[in-house]
């Protein structure tokens, strides 16, 4: 039985990964999950210098979802390399840093350094964080800026380059196609969906940045639809994410066309959910007599 999947030349032992921003740097999650058993760990969006994140309220529950405005709080490149990466490697995790620079130059610098760092399996370029003033989603909503960044990032990255796409555009698949054309090895879809909450007591937006990113089961149908559309337009692998809360949710993404999936918000709720999904995948494959998980990828299109 084969549960392994390929992201470019990288082989993941199974398709279950944990999403950037919901797994920290693996330290806290390792109390609940054996990091070595995961397909990969996508670490918190990284910048060259440490970032404190946004002021004011940062998170609030919505119906079956969560709105967040964390603002890419992270330890910065230096501390990541010195403290966080060694921990992850000591746990035998497959490490994929998420790169979230403010500017094209900062992203390129991060791509260069990280792709030459031993122990890093691939990079995920974040062009879709809605919670920062500069960078983030600004790169992921305009196809020309997106293409410009991609061309440079591809050149700067020695190894595997994954691009995390924003759902906050008309045609996500067009961005996926552009990523493929510029030589990305895979795309992750989707990042959070733009949302907003009004605090009815103060009669003002709840978050200081007004809009925030919606995640969790509430966005799963949107994410599945987008993965399905991307699959029809590109040949590179898709890492599907958006509200996966259980094994059946994960299967939907795979059948829609995802080669791998990421658990995001549900790590916050049930930190062992990724482990549960891995266990259930094997049971399911035995029961359904599936020899290779790749047989299921995109099966909903056939």
């Amino acid at each position: 039985m084969n549960t392994s999947v390929k992201i470019g030349s990288l082989i993941l032992k199974n398709p279950v990964t944990v999403a950037s921003g919901t797994a920290g740097y693996g330290e806290e999650l390792s109390a609940f999950v054996n990091l070595a058993e995961l397909g990969a760990v996508f670490t918190k969006g990284l910048s060259l210098e440490p970032r404190e994140g946004n002021k004011g309220p940062r998170i609030i529950e919505t119906s079956s979802g969560v709105l967040n405005s964390i603002g890419l709080q992270n330890v910065g490149l230096k501390a990541f390399l010195k403290e966080k990466l060694p921990f992850l490697l000591s746990k035998n995790a497959v490490v994929i840093p998420n790169i979230a620079g403010h500017s094209i130059d900062e992203n390129i610098e991060l791509c260069k350094i990280l792709s030459e760092t031993e122990g890093i399996s691939a990079l995920e370029l974040n062009v879709s964080c809605p919670n920062v003033e500069q960078g983030g989603m600004a790169f992921g909503r305009d196809i020309r800026t997106f293409s410009k960044l991609l061309r440079k990032a591809r050149k700067a990255t020695k190894g595997i380059l994954i691009v995390k796409l924003s759902p906050n555009v008309d045609d996500v698949a067009a961005f996926a196609k552009a990523a493929e054309d510029f030589g990305a090895d895979a795309v992750s879809a989707i990042n959070t969906v733009l949302g907003m909450k009004i605090d009815v007591k103060s009669r003002k937006p709840y978050f200081l940045r007004k809009s925030a990113g919606l995640s969790g089961p509430a966005i799963k149908p949107i994410a599945v639809r987008i993965v399905y559309e991307i699959f029809e337009r590109v040949n590179i692998p898709i890492i599907g994410l958006g509200g996966i809360s259980c094994f059946e949710d994960m299967l939907e993404f795979i059948m829609a066309g995802a080669s791998a999936v990421s658990i995001g918000t549900m790590n916050l709720v049930n930190p062992s959910v990724a482990s549960d999904c891995i266990a259930k995948l094997e049971e399911y494959m035995v029961k359904e007599k599936i020899n290779d998980i790749n047989e299921l990828v995109g099966i909903a299109h056939r």
Binding site: E28, E52, G53, R58, I59, Q73, G216, N267
Partner: protein, 252 residues
Amino acid sequence: MATLIDKPLEVCKDHYLLKIDIGISLSHPGQFANIKIGKNDPLLRRPFSIFDHKENIIEIIFKVVGKGTEILKNICKAGYLDVIAPLGQGFSITENKNTLLIGGGVGNAPLYYLAKQLKAKNNIVNYLYAARSKDYIFFEDKYRLISNTFYLATDDGSGGRKGTACDISGELAGGSGYDIVYTCGPAIMMAGIVRIFQNPDTRIEVSLENYFGCGIGLCSGCAVETNAGIKRACVDGPAFDGRVIDWGSLLQ
């Protein structure tokens, strides 16, 4: 695997007691339990401080404030409950000291467990129990019994003295010689307490109750500004040195 021992018991207006077997006999006063209610809606766990802990059973007192606690209060039978506990950093436990504990409303809950442990370590426990009114006071007798000196205050004077936690603290602070003050309650109350006890020889510990996303340090949603940078209330706290907190940012 945790088990709810009995259905929720009403202990005063809007407040309920839960007894949960968590299979772990050790926790620290000020730590919390993170409880999953329903499947995807409500989605996030709800954190509750530990009111008492005997053998493998923790007790929690919660106040009904919204959808999650409304569902929790209506659980009608004992059985499996999805609980992660104990979590977070609790209060420090001193020895042979003169202590003052100040609880506001449901914020009194973790201070009972704290008072018990302080008592066991030969501290003098002075307790100020503040509540909105008489109807919102739970287990007054238990608090009275555990304390060397017990003060009761309600905003409207319907139980104990009339006044807020800060009003009474203002009187207690003068020449009292407390070595350490522990407080848990609304942020505005704790900010007031920190202002009132100005003597730097008196240590102040607070337990924050800001909005938690995950409760296990993954999301950084419960970030608190302190004089040592951003901290996560769920894993760096909920108990903190009250003087390191940037109260202005919490009260915005």
